[in-house]
Symmetry: C2
Subunit: 316 residues, 2 copies
């Protein structure tokens, strides 16, 4: 009698996956990289605003980097002097990597600032060279394929989480392992949502990308022949996209936003990368796997990218 | 008796200066450049939207380029294929310069697109290399000072207009010829308003830069010692800034916006670079010189930049 009164939402089918479970898979790779290097790589982080989320991200980076045997220095500088400090860090041979905790100005000037970081020290993978390589599915920086291009850390973290959750089918050939998967992404920022949609489409998925401007569909056409994705503007309600989606990824930076649980296809994977909680607490009544936040994986990818930057420099 | 009834606004003190008067000053320089080159330089313009202002700009460029003995090709391509076309044009040795008629996507993706143009063909001067040089007051691309950096065409056009109007004092040393001048700019876009403010401050002016985010003051401090400008957030009403400004420059893309004539200091120079008319029809009751639009100078600067790009390539 008691059991029969338990509703579906009180007895969720889904499982929560913590980012730490994914992050720890890369711990040994990172430690091996550090040992091979034989010194502490140094990341410099720049904080030029009082945004509490940016400070939290800075504190997390510091803690993780130091715990893992990296060197980390947080520089808090006036936003008007930030560019000069970045130039100094670009030239400073003791600095291996640079990151900026955005927002700084909170407008397009931030995109300018991103480009002032030397690509050889761009641990976030946001300078034009790397982003362009991502969109064009170019994986190496040189013709001899000795230097891997750097992927933007948050999209990369999401790919690593999807690999861990077996959304990538390892039986399919590399570069096509999301073939047959449909993915809805609510966010099309230049930092995460758009590069993520391109990455996933380059790997074979059909992606519905939602933002305030409308919906875009990222696909690789027939999924086999094309080297890179195609994009088209389409009109499809969020509900219709979600109900055919194996994966739903959200990144809406607003506490008031909740992705409607009833839109989610039974058994879908749901991942939130916003600092706000974009899924309702009953999400697991529908989702099979739910990842409430991804910060720890992102920071792990920042370490991995830093080691890769140093490798690329040493290849020269 | 009739004369005494004429009000100030019916008998304006100010004079309208047409952009064509400024543009024609550069005609002989451009013709000399073409003769020295001995061939027609080719500009390719990309139009990927149905914005009437963008099409008008494209038509103007075509007309001016062809009339002046340049080669011009307008390519209308789907916005999703634009990046591939830019890549082809970057590689095409028959193409000397490339420009994109924005908006394409109308969001931050347009800033990404700007960066896909090879800087050696960037006639608009909007790739990061050139913009960074502008902000840092770096005038050459090489240490030997043989290759001049390219300035963004619209800010450059505004500088040329201010030179023509004698806002630049030729008796002062080069690089400090706006010393003592105060300038109000209503627009702080990354394409015009912000680089313009930096250029003018680098030349010695005190600049009040207004946009929806607030007001910034660009200055070179004491105007002599510093190599480049400094920026600070300040609070000053538009009226107070305007009333101490020798020059007022507007770029608000809205027909409904009018700069209040009563704010203008008697005898100020007023220049509008928006496609909308940002000054009221009584502007000349206050302004000594009024430039209602600047398009022809901008297009002239596009030709000048194209010749400079070719010179820079030939120096190699």
């Amino acid at each position: 009698m008691v059991l029969s009164s338990i509703s579906a939402s009180e007895c969720p089918a889904g499982k929560t996956i913590l980012a730490s479970s994914v992050a720890k898979l890369y711990a040994s790779e990172i430690q091996a990289g550090l040992e091979k290097l034989g010194r502490k790589p140094k990341l410099v982080g720049f904080l030029s605003n009082s945004d509490p989320a940016a400070r939290m991200y800075a504190d997390w980076t510091a803690k993780s980097y130091l715990e893992n045997g990296f060197d980390f220095e947080l520089l808090e500088v006036d936003k008007e002097e930030l560019e000069d400090h970045i130039f100094q860090a670009n030239k400073d041979v003791s600095v291996d990597g640079i990151m900026i905790y955005f927002p700084v100005f909170g407008n397009r000037q931030d995109q300018y600032l991103q480009q002032t970081v030397a690509s050889s020290k761009d641990v976030e993978g946001l300078t034009h060279l790397y982003v362009q390589n991502l969109y064009h599915n170019v994986r190496y920086l040189d013709e001899a394929s000795t230097k891997k291009s750097i992927l933007p850390c948050t999209p990369l973290a999401l790919v690593k989480i999807l690999e861990y959750l077996n959304a990538y089918n390892m039986h399919l050939p590399y570069g096509n392992r999301l073939y047959g998967k449909t993915i809805t992404i609510v966010n099309r920022s230049e930092i995460v949502g758009r590069p993520l949609a391109a990455l996933l489409a380059n790997d074979g998925a059909v992606v519905y990308s939602f933002d305030v401007d409308g919906v875009q569909k990222f696909t690789r056409g027939d999924g086999i022949k094309l080297r890179r994705h195609q994009v088209s503007d389409i009109e499809i309600p969020l509900q219709d996209a979600a109900q055919v989606s194996d994966v739903v990824i959200t990144g809406v930076p607003a506490d008031s936003y909740k992705f409607p649980t009833e839109y989610i296809k039974d058994g879908a994977i749901c991942i939130n990368f916003s600092t706000a909680k974009n899924f309702d607490k009953d999400v697991k009544s529908k989702a099979s796997l739910y990842v409430p936040s991804i910060g720890k994986v992102t920071i792990t990818m920042l370490m991995r990218n830093l080691l890769r930057l140093i490798e690329n420099t040493n290849v020269n």
